[in-house]
Every structure is written in structure tokens, then in C-alpha cells.
Symmetry: D2
Subunit: 338 residues, 4 copies
């Protein structure tokens, strides 16, 4: 089975398993796990932030950011197809008590002027704008890279209105590698950032949030409330260290594979690639095949390839470490056969 | 001063003051106030619902509806310029813990197909759709009437997906009078409804929510939590009874005045009426005057007419009982002079 | 029927009805109601605070105080039988997201040392102590006066730990009159305070919260979210003004009546007054009559006297303006007959 | 350094590290991780519940239980020194919006009659009692075992009032081993239960919640919102399996060590053991030494033994797998030297 559902399905590498086996550990609730501290320090350096914190998932990192930046009665501006809005179970309203105000994006990029218009004033009828969230790469826009220019323009608007910015950078490594630049090129334009270790980088579990020291201190407490204060966390931080130090550059292979996949699919009658393939995601409209996305996925699964639905007629393919170039070509053969 | 800011500025009539003076009262927390019970019964009949409850404001009525229909972690679908989303301080997220998902409207009407697409499925990543809110007339769309047809189509989608519908009918009386039909023509297509007594109907304070008996029982408790459980509430229910029984039909005058105002403004250079004037609201784009809405309002106020800003270049005028036809004509003279 | 259930059942006096009839009103959401402003100014003076705000009920005032002082994740210290904890539907946890930590009182007074021990430290496992609430007079302790000395000691502990204090003074007027001192004697030892106009003072509706200017500005917004932003509120503020200016001193009559009632009941076989009757409340243990409180109340109601249950074997009687000395004596006769 | 601060400091055994290394994994968000499924099945069998769910911590398990059982506006009854109330950052109020009502325990056991009195009725002023939480063993009561008889009596009261019961069984294994009975002896008297794998059982990370199938389905979604939906979770579930299958019985050693420690401390002048040592926790009053708990702990730490403060004059020692009998004896020597 060639699993192109998500880069989350990556399994830990042999080196990661070895690292888990040998991990030096301590009780992280007492801040005594040396491995997770090394991971947090490396992450804060790579992300250009004062401090960083290990969390168990991207959702947890994003939720902590909202809980720390905002208070109940605030409003959060975010892209209308963003993960925080679309895929986190409405948790930011359930837990942080904030209202979501969505901005339509163009390939994941929000228009800074629309953001400025959406920032609330001082009226007694209106919630206070507490946070702006950017997602990069943007999942539902097909792994689209939000340019540093766009992030800069949004950050300037935000700063002018004293509203903080949080970056959901679950796949920020993909953006940086595909743009051939450092993470800081992007993170300089955000107050806080969340990055995932368990997607393209292949770690079994975990994400990082980074930001100012004071933010991380408060975030640590919200993490505890969410049940993310763990004990001998070095066991999962150890593969995270490998993810950060050894697995970033190779993402370019995944991007190359996605381009091969997109080209191949583009030449199939009845299938249309609907995103610019910036990174490792290919979105395909299957309606030309007279099939719904779910019907298409089922046939594909029978043929030995897994993908996920991204709407009634759109299917998402995601390339990652566990799928080789040869498997991409096999997948294309199967796709062709439907 | 001719006050066209809002129909909320209406002051109680002499008959209402007389009614307050004579009101038979009791302690409504013990359900012993006969006047408020009469008001609630009359309202439930007019609205075609099993039961009704007096609340202190439209915002309170809407909040109670959301708290009663939903639970934390749910998502609410509502028009992107609706009062509940725009003007209630983000309270539905702060108090009920629900996420707002906005649908763009056309003159206040949401497309039932867009609503259907926005209703969430069973995925573990997604909040459950807990409520659909309709606003009629739609304030920010310029007092636009949402047709019974549109409400019916939305209600059918909602019912098919077992999602309840709440109607923010703060100005539903205007919709009914302007459509020359009964309130029930609209309320048959909603599970619960909120109507305001203190806008066009001229009561000093109060709104009504109506719905199934069980809903009202639960709503009564949420009202208590919000601090809306009052004592000798007959004092303000008495003018509410007059509002419901004597003040509805005369709203046609306000609508007539709004049309006069809109026609007059339409012939002024540099001003453009931007809404279809269905009821008592006129939205005017003042950018042709090279003025922002706030600059225009200030000049107008100096001249003796009050209005409110509805965005950087749009001004809202609202007609009501306390502004006579002659005052409308005076207002036009002042507007002309800017 | 002699209604001794609560002082909330007081009905507006003739002067209050007259005041409603003549009230000068405006739209208070625009801060243009002159009568409510007069009421708020008088209240802030009497309470010795910078500013004050009219709210629709004691519950609403208390909820606003918690929402304004605290943020979600905080803990509030309050007496274990206090109104905010016992009778407000768990609203402070539902709306403000705060945890309640109760302290047992002695006749309504909490031990300042116990409060100090309960204030949380800096540990990552613990909520931050966000507020201490005092209730005076204390309802479930039988209208017990919390002494200024006790309030001072609590305030000092609170201030030393930078925790604000809120006073639920729903019946603070009773405490002041019975202590023969001004309200400020008590309110000097609290940051914010809520007082009810609709209990012993006889107004039909309403309470006041008072505190620093900045607190009131923020409170006004939370009031709006709760649906307590009203329109022509002068209609109910007018009787409130009479309540504050004309009805306070006469509370001594109610206290006198309560003492007569308590003495009379004390001499009945099988009945025992279980509270020190500081003000207008008498708590009676009826178990000597081999009756539950509810059985006793039912018999009493048949005889023409109303009271409420305060636990399985305790009945509460509350004296107020609408019950004369003669009616107290009649009530005693009925009580004797059971 | 002999670390007696907590049994959470236990480090994974060699077998656990080996298990991590070899763990068969999959993406658990897609329910495809075979190891975590094996763990959940074994746990549900041992706990006698229909289904079980892996969570990242005891706090997360407890929070999920409250979020699943309750809705905002409910009240939860729990022991006044319980972990959920004392050590979870007020999270159940912040996230689930429930009010905490505490019951004083006797060695961790709540009086079922007090619980029955605390269950709320149908009054509009009162929150609905949504859940009763029991903690076994009870941490702050010194690892006290709550007897199955007490749990049964509480469960019967709860069931009679249709209120569910949740057991915070972070150290339930200790209770079972010390009582020489199965876990089911206790869990038969609760609807849902949380047990920790990372305390005495030595797993690096994780807890289990168990209950009815429908409960677990809903719990899974709340876990996702809290950020506890992980990917290749088999890596940490593998040591959890060893914890459950190989590490339970040996807890009797820890209990034996605690008894040795308690006896030794009991004979030291100025130190007093203040708990009945049911399991692996010893609480010591150090005030006879004219030291605060923190001063005592610092001296002890200099001598090579770690413990934690449990109040101004009480110190907690916890025995566990990583402290041998010989180390206990060394610790006693150090303690004697202070
Ligand atoms: Ca992975
Ligand atoms: Ca492969
Ligand atoms: Ca009005
Ligand atoms: Ca009254
Ligand atoms: Ca009378
Ligand atoms: Ca451990």
C-alpha cells in the first residue's frame, strides 16, 4: 500500500528508534529532562525566538498560543480554510472563549488591507481583536507557501494595531526548504510560531511552539492545564532532535516527488490538479471522472494507493519520507488505471 | 435635534408611561408577575410558538438562544454581517464556547446551498454544527427583508441535518408589516425567535424569545445566570404589552418615511443610497462628498441631524416613531446643505 | 397573605410609580439617559467609589465583577454558603471560567488566616487566585452582618497578595443601618461592590456595581455581552433613585420586626431560631415539630403566611416594607397555630 | 541523589526502552496504531470497562472525563484536597465551565451522606450536579486507600440521583496491590476511570481513561481538541503495555519501603508521620524541628535526598521503583542527620 494520505503517517526512522532507546530522560514537569531541553533550545535557535516549548501536537501548540495571547471575549482573525478554524474542533472558542473571524485567502495568503479592515475598534458592541493567525504552508490551499512579503505586510498591520501574530507553521519547514531560505526569513514576521516534528520530518510525536520568554512561561502553564505536561518526555524529544537536525533538507525530495505526481496526474483524462504545487501536496479535482472524491479514493485504495478527500470532488495526495520515487511512479500507474 | 441614529432611541409613549404607572406586578423570579405573563402569552401567540420569555435586550435573547441550543465545542452558522457576529462582543464564544462560521449574504439572505456545504460532518477534527442563525430584517444589509422563501429553504436544509434554527428578529415586525403578512409567515421557518420591543415598537426596555416549552424552561435558567431574572418586571412588561398590541401596524409610517428620505438623498450630488429600502433603514455612501462617514456625521450633527457610521464611507439613517414626516423633510434640507 | 419569603417581593411604592411615570429618559447604550446617570452618580458617592453602573440584578452585578476582575483559569475565594457560589447557577465558572474555592464562614465571616492559606502560589499545577468575594449581610447565615473589622482584615490579606476584593452587598444597606454607620464604613475595605435596589429598598428592578473608573469601563462592556445594556433605562432608574435616597433609613423597621418575629417564634414549642437576628432575616429550625421545612411551609401557607425552605429542617422568614408590624403579629399567631 | 519527590520520576526500564525501539506503530489519529490499540484493550479488560483510551497525562484524562460527562453550568462534587481541584490549574472550570464544590474527606474518603446533601435540586438558582469525582489512592491524604465500601456507597448515592462518577485512579494500582485485590474491585463502583502508567508503573509517559463505548467515542474528540490526538503513539504505548503487564505486582515493594521509611522517621525527634501509610507515600510534619517544610527540604537536598513540600510544615516522601531498599536506609540516615 502506498500511503499518500498525509505526511503525518511517516514512521520513525531507525536513527530515531535508536535515539529513543538511548534517550537521557528526566521529569519534565520538574524541568529536568535534558533531552527535551536540548530540543527546545535547538528549536528556539532555528526559529529565531527567545524560548521554545515541546507540545504533543500541532493542535495543542496552536491552542496554547491562543490561550496565552488572548482572553475570553476577544476575536481572532484567521484564514477561512485554516487548520485552526477548520480542523481543531472549534477548540479555540470552547477553551479560550474567542470568536473566530475568517478572511478569505488567495493561495493561503490573506490580504493585509482586509485584515486591517477586520481589526475591531473601541466600540462597546465589538469584541477586541486579540490575535491574527497565519498558516504557512497552507494545508487546504494545497501546501501553498505564504510569502515572506505577505507575512511582513500582515505583521506590519498587526504591529500598528498592537495585535500579536501567531504562525501555524505545522509545515513551515516545507516552506523554507522550497523557498531555499531559513525558517527565520518567515518567523521574523510573527510573534509566536508552532512547527510540527511529526509530519514531513518523520518524528513519531510532537510539535514546538516558540516565542518570547514570557510567552513561553505562560504557555507552559496552559500546556499543563491541557494535559500536555509530561514526565520522561526525552523519549519522544530524542527523535524530535533528529527530525530538526537531520530531516529538514531532505524535504526537497518530497517536493520533487509531488511535482512528478502532479505532472503525471495532469496528463490523465478527467483529473485536474487544482493547486500550484509549491511543496508536498497535490490537490486533484476528480469530477471529470464522474466520481465523487470518496468514490475515487475507494477505487484508488483497492488499487493500492491511499489518499484523502478534501471536499466533494477534490482529493489530496501528500508526499513524504516513507514514499520513494519508485512508489510515486507506481502510484501514477494505479491512478491512470481508474 | 432630529435623531435618526437608531429606532432604539424611541421613548415610551404617554400610554406606556401610564401603563407602567398602573402595572400590576409580582416577583417574576417566583413567576408571580401577572403582567409579564400576559406579555409572554401574547408574544407566544403572535409568534406561533409554544412559550415565550421576556428578556432585557436583543443581545440577551440571542445569547440565551445560543446557550440553550448549543454546547461548548459546537459551531454556529450565521451571516457574516449579522448582529450576533458583529455587535455582541464575541459573547457567544465567550459564554457558550461556540465557534462562529460566517456565510456571506445577499441583502441579508444566505444561500441555502452554502449553508448545507458548511454543515459539518462526523469527522473528529471538526466541531459539530449546533445552530443556524438568521437575521430578519437584516440590520447591516440596510433593514433588508429576508424572504419567507429563503427562510423556508434554510429551515429545510437545517431540518434535514437535524440542526436547529434561531431567528434574530429584532426588527421582525418591520419585515412583517412591510410584507403585509403575519409574523408567523416567517416564524414557521425557525425553531426559536427573538424580537425586540424597544426598537420600532417604542417600549423602553426589553425583548422576547419564543420557542418550544422545553426550550423556554432551559432558557429561563440561562437568563438567570446572565442576570436577567428580574423582580417586579411588570413595570417594564406593561409598556411591552402596548408595544405588541398597539404599535406594530404604525411601522408602515416609518417605512414610508425611509422611502421619502432615500428618494431625497438619492437626488443629492455626492450621496448614494446603497441599499434597497425595504423597511426603516437607509444606507448612504458619502464618499462622493470627499468625506469619511465620521466627518459627514459630524457636519450633519452640527446641522441638527444625528446618524451613525456603518463603515468608513457609509452612514446609516433609521426612521422611527419619534421622527415625524415633517422632521424627515427638515432632515433632508440639512443633508442637502452639507 | 403575609409574604415573608423574601424582601425581593417588595412592590414599588406610589412615589416610585410616580417617578417612573415622569422619568426623563434617553438611550443608555449611547450613555444618554440622564436619570440612570443621576442614579449611578448618587450610588458612587454613597459607596465611596469613583464610578458606578446600573445592572439589572444582583446576579448580573456579581457576574460582571468576576468577569472584569478575573480571567479564565483563575480561582475565586468565597464563603461556602455565599450567594455567588450557592445561588447563581454556577455562572462564574460557566462564563468567567474560574474555579470556586470555598471557605467556611462563622456567621458569614471568613477567617483571614484561612483566606491567606488558600491564596495560591506560583506553582505550575495551581490556578492563580484572581478574586476574593465577601457577602454582607450574609444571606444564608441569616442576614448576618460581616463586621468592618473582618472586612478590613480580609482586605489587608488580599492587598498584601495583590488579589482584588469584591463585596456582594445585595443587603449592605441592612448592614449599615443595623450598625448605625455609613456604607463607606464597609466599602472602604473592598475594591468593588454590588448593592441591590430591589430588595429592602423596594425598587422594582435593579442593582448597582461600583468601583474604580477603569473597572466600570470594562464592566460596561461585559454588561453589554450579558445583555444588560438597556435603552430607556431611566424608567427603572427613577424608582432606584427613590430607593437610594428615601428608603434606606426605614430598614430599621424591618430589623425591629424581625426581632419581634424571632422572639415570638422563640417561645413556640418545637421551633428554634438558629441565627443571631442582626437584620431582617430569621432562620427557624422546625424539626422539633416533627416536620420537614417544606411540610412546615405548606401548613403555614394554608394559614396565610409564606416563607421559604433553607435546608431540610430550616425555614427562612424575611421582613420588609410590605409587611407591617400588625402583620408580623398576625403571622406569629398563625405560626403558633401549627 | 535519592529522589523521593514523586513516583513520576521513575525512568523507563531497559525492557521499556527495548519495547519503544521495536514498537509497531501507525497513525493513531486514523486509529491505525496497533500497539496503542493493544494497550487500550488490555487496559479496558483490567479495568472492567467497555473501552479505553490512551491520553498523555493524568490531568488530560481527568479533564477529558469532565468535558465528556458535563456541560458548562454544571457543578462537580469532589474531595477538597483532590488532584483535580488542587493541582490541575483550575482547568475544569476554564475548559468545561463547571463549578467545583468540594467535600472534606477523611483519609481521602468522602461521606456519602454529605455528597447526597450536596447534590443540587431543581431550583432555578442552582447549577445541576454533573459529576462526582473520587480519588484513589488519595494523594494529599498521603496515598490513602479509599475503600471499595466507601466507593460503593458513593456510587449508590450517585446512581440514585442519576449523577455519573469518575475515578481519578492515578495511583489505583497502588490501592489494588495494597488491598490484595483486583482493580475491578474498585472500578465496579465508577462509571469512568483514569489510571496513570507513568507513576509507580514506570512508563515514561501516559495515562488511560476507561468507560462505556459511547463515552470513549466522545472522549476521543475532546482529546483531539486538547491536542492529545497523536501520531505514531505506539512508541510510548509500548512501554505502557509493559507497565500494565509486568510492573503492577512489584508495587508491593514500594509499599514495604514506605513502611520502613515511616517507621524510621517516626523514631526521629521532631519529626512526626501524619498519615496512615497505606501505600507508597509518607507525610511528615517537620515543625518539631523548628523548620518550615521548605527549609527542611533544602537541608535534606544538601544531604542527598529529595522530597516535596505538602504545606507549610509537611513534607511528602514517595517511594518508587527507582529507589531501592538500601537507598531508603541511606535516606533515613540523612534524615536523621538533620
Ligand atoms: Ca509521523
Ligand atoms: Ca515505502
Ligand atoms: Ca426605545
Ligand atoms: Ca422589590
Ligand atoms: Ca402588606
Ligand atoms: Ca515515570
Amino acid at each position: 500500500m502506498i500511503d499518500l494520505r498525509s505526511d503525518t503517517v511517516t514512521k520513525p526512522t531507525a536513527a530515531m528508534r535508536e535515539a529513543m532507546y538511548r534517550a537521557e530522560v528526566g521529569d519534565d514537569v520538574y524541568k529536568e529532562d535534558p533531552t527535551v531541553r536540548r530540543l527546545e533550545e535547538l528549536a528556539s535557535q532555528m526559529l529565531g525566538k527567545e524560548d521554545a516549548l515541546f507540545v504533543t501536537s500541532g493542535t495543542q501548540g496552536n491552542q496554547i498560543a491562543v490561550l496565552t495571547h488572548c482572553r475570553s471575549g476577544n476575536e481572532v482573525l484567521l484564514e477561512q480554510d485554516s487548520h485552526i478554524f477548520y480542523y481543531e474542533g472549534g477548540a479555540i472558542s470552547a477553551f479560550a472563549g474567542v470568536q473566530t473571524r475568517t478572511i478569505p485567502g488567495n493561495k493561503g495568503e490573506m490580504d493585509p488591507r482586509q485584515i486591517e479592515l477586520a481589526i475591531r475598534g473601541n466600540d462597546i458592541h465589538e469584541p477586541e481583536t486579540g490575535l491574527i493567525c497565519v498558516e504557512n504552508t497552507h494545508n487546504r490551499a494545497g501546501g501553498a507557501i505564504v510569502s515572506a512579503e505577505n507575512m511582513k505586510a500582515i505583521f506590519e498591520v498587526a504591529t500598528a494595531h498592537a495585535v500579536p501574530v501567531h504562525l501555524d507553521g505545522a509545515r513551515l519547514f516545507n516552506a523554507a526548504v522550497a523557498s531555499n531560505c531559513s525558517l527565520k526569513e518567515f518567523t521574523q514576521y510573527t510573534d509566536t510560531v508552532q512547527v510540527c516534528l511529526s509530519k514531513g520530518l518523520g518524528a513519531p510525536i510532537g510539535s514546538i511552539i516558540a516565542g518570547p520568554k514570557e510567552f513561553i512561561t505562560s504557555a507552559r502553564k496552559w500546556r499543563k492545564r491541557l494535559g500536555g505536561g509530561l514526565r520522561q518526555v526525552g523519549t519522544i524529544a530524542a527523535p524530535g532532535l533528529i527530525a530538526l537536525s537531520e530531516m529538514v533538507d531532505r524535504l526537497s525530495e518530497d517536493h520533487h516527488h509531488a511535482k512528478i505526481l502532479a505532472e503525471g496526474i495532469g496528463s490523465v483524462n478527467g483529473l485536474e490538479v487544482v493547486n500550484t504545487v509549491d511543496t508536498n501536496i497535490v490537490l486533484v479535482d476528480v469530477s471529470g471522472k464522474k466520481l465523487t472524491s470518496n468514490e475515487f479514493i475507494e477505487k484508488l485504495s483497492d488499487a493500492g494507493v491511499k489518499a484523502v478527500s478534501f471536499g466533494p470532488s477534490v482529493v489530496r495526495f501528500t508526499t513524504h519520507y516513507d514514499v520513494s520515487k519508485q512508489e510515486i511512479e507506481e502510484a501514477l500507474t494505479f491512478i491512470n488505471s481508474i
